[in-house]
Symmetry: D5
Subunit: 122 residues, 10 copies
């Protein structure tokens, strides 16, 4: 791939983009599911696959969805363990949104005949 | 479409119609699901699709179902975000019915490989 | 249909029949589901269809199941709304059995692209 | 029910209504499914329930869908066996539409712990 | 059947057999499901069918599984109602095991178009 | 059980009852499924369970459904193998109905961790 | 909506765009499914919803997917019957691609308690 | 495990046992499914798991089911590839039964994120 | 099998390997499911099969997944009851990890027509 | 990622490895499914995801499964269209194995609300 396409560039520059919550006076829940998460195993370098689920109650900010997709795509070439990446996504969202409630779930595909789900909640 | 059909006119004039609750002396739940909701994305103008779920405990009023269907159909040509439209339907039902309990869920189709559910509750 | 069959007559004379609870000294649950409920829409006269679910904790009496089936069949020619018929079945069972707990659910087929569930509980 | 509602009258006067096939120059299939069929058992008078499926390749005529629904509703008070009613619907559609191909399936609910499906094809 | 086979004899002599709980120092749950339960209707003599589910927290004793299977098979020729048989199995297990917690569920097949589930818990 | 109930007697006297085919001029299919079949294992005497499926194209006769249910119930106390009982039901139906086509399937529950289906067709 | 968004404009100007088939020397199948089709009922003006399925064996041309999506979106404000719209999509694809094989299926949501599927094949 | 249990011995001595076909005058199918197959990978020695399906039309002989289960259990400690073991079971059954038709399917669990099914038919 | 493969050796030497928890400052859950567990019945020596589920909140240590897989594989030749093995896995994990919360579930395949699930929780 | 892990290197050097077919004297089928395929969109550079299914009847050679997994992993950083990549995998397998029959299916995730399946067969 001699030249980066616009999508590849957008992923490279991905940053979680907070937008104003249209109804900050009220507690309500936003549930997001992203079934196309992939990163690399830190031991072997082989690809890992997961569905990332994000459930939160926004305070002043909501996450813009395209920026979230690009942010999640940006793990494609990173070597990071199941536990670490789920905690990392949790930390990044907490820092960007300061939500009233937050849960991040990493639901990983079977590896070595073992299925693993990591669940981090505020 | 040179001339409006009767259904198109009915949608245009849609208004939530409150009817008397036949059993106001008792708390009971009404759960409604409408899988054919569509509106327009406020950024792109492309169509969005969702299932709208409404669960409430009526006080003096219940919502007439045909008026609810026409009201939900009336978003077809409106540009409104996932979060905003779910909160708006919640506000309109609360104003029209003053129910004892109310939950509105906007369960939107995947966009940009991300699935989003908005859940607003009293 | 010039002459009533025995089944049609049995439905006509249907009455909820309470039997003695074989274990009144103990709280236990009876969960009943009847997927072949049909009545008529009070506005249009068109048929409506529902599954009726009855969950209760009996006190001195349990309902005899054949009498319950005939009672539910007896709504076939009656014009009654979703909300009214669910509350009515609740009232009739409460009067006949005086149960310790009672829930009646009317899970109606889609009408006008809207699905409705009515849930009445003691 | 002292007075017939408009829906009840429409069912009473139900007649299969043939419309012109918009593409008679081509063989194509129309598959219809009606899950709310009910009639009466000719022996007992108790209600029977079925899903009626109609698959056909139209020639000069297609069946108008509302007239089909009313026609199928009109069996509600008729006493007729599983085999007879499926063959009867087949005969009526064949007479009304003279289709190139026709299949009618009566998929009846369990009776006496036995499930029965009747399948009539041209 | 002129001569009893060994299995038929084993069923005839069936008795719940308590074994020592290997971990009595700890609360833990045992969940058993038996989908091949059959007995006779006390009114008609026709066969009834059910799945029996047993969930318990053992104290000093657990039930040996083959003795449980034979015990449940021994109802094959007994005439007993849905409510009575579920309460009876509950009583027999309580007497044999004196468990810390116990739930018995009789999930019976549809009869007369009605599905019934009986749920007895300590 | 000191005295036979009417259902037990009906099962004892069960006989396949042929009725006139209402549409013998036409080939059509009748598909029957009976999920509550039970007999005894000829080796051990333990109960076996199966779903029996019968698909046929009637000639002059169809089988009356209640007589079929009683006939299938009559195997409850008979010791007979999976292969033998499926072939036997096939032979009995062929003799009673002389159908144009006939298939009998015995879909037996798992025994010894092995699931077996027997399929006999004309 | 005072001003058209770029997506709305793209839909307005939608045109099926044929691209060169990368493997014209070989018969292979392309199966496309679009679950977000909506148009208007030509009688009432109420919205209709369907999944459109397109299966074809390309000759010299394949359809570019974004142009297909815009083309299918362009029916949102058109009043057209189930049969007509399925045949029309078939004709447009046939004209644009001249495929070796083509099937178009319109799988429409229930209307008036009737589900309809239209299937047009070359 | 200092001493072999009777089951372990039975597996050790496992041999496919042919029994007389009770209906050799007729073609009929026997479909067997065994979801608890396990053997060892010939490269790594790690355990493999599969469901083995056997479909055949018997001639003079059918396979006795307990001997089949023991035969399939006897692969537990053998190192053999997916392709080889499926062809081997096929050969053994063909030799033992000389059936009119025979299909053996090895439906193996995912290994290295790849799922494999081997299908051998006469 | 004259010579042990590397996988067989790895299973023989299996030992639960604790690794440092990357986020010990936070309560979060790890849910593991292993569908390929097999051991031997202590009475008969026949193989048993189960899915083992492990849910825990780590404190200072998490379990390395490959060491867990090898540890679970090491039961393949051990004779141990359903209750005992589930409690044993629980004890081993508790000793190795000292987790804040721990649940181990042994979901065993049907034996003698009975399905059993053992659930041990801290 | 400063240094390549062994898995990453293995993917880089991936080559389909043909092994001898253990039963070349017989036609039998091998069905492979790989749900973790990902490549890049040639227009945007965004990631695409698919399940690749390969069904073939081997002649002299079968494909070694680990080499197949590495080969499929090697598309992770390549920009290639749905149609092209499915035809390419087909060509590579045909060249490497010269199978008697071959089918390759690319079952791609939804993009732009459109789901696409490409099916290439010999």
């Amino acid at each position: 791939m001699t030249e980066k396409k616009y999508g590849a560039k957008a992923v490279e520059e991905a940053k979680l983009e907070p937008w104003d919550n249209p109804s900050p006076e009220r507690d309500y829940a936003i549930e997001i599911s992203f079934p196309e998460f992939t990163c690399l195993c830190p031991r072997s370098g082989y690809p890992d696959f997961a569905t990332i689920k994000i459930n939160y109650v926004p305070d002043k900010k909501v996450v813009e969805l395209k920026s979230l997709k690009l942010y999640l795509n940006s793990f494609r070439d990173r070597a990071v363990s199941h536990e670490a990446v789920t905690n990392l996504i949790f930390d990044d969202l907490k820092a960007a949104l300061a939500p009233r409630k937050l849960e991040v779930v990493g639901d990983f595909n079977v590896r070595g005949n073992v299925k693993t789900v990591i669940r981090v909640a505020l």
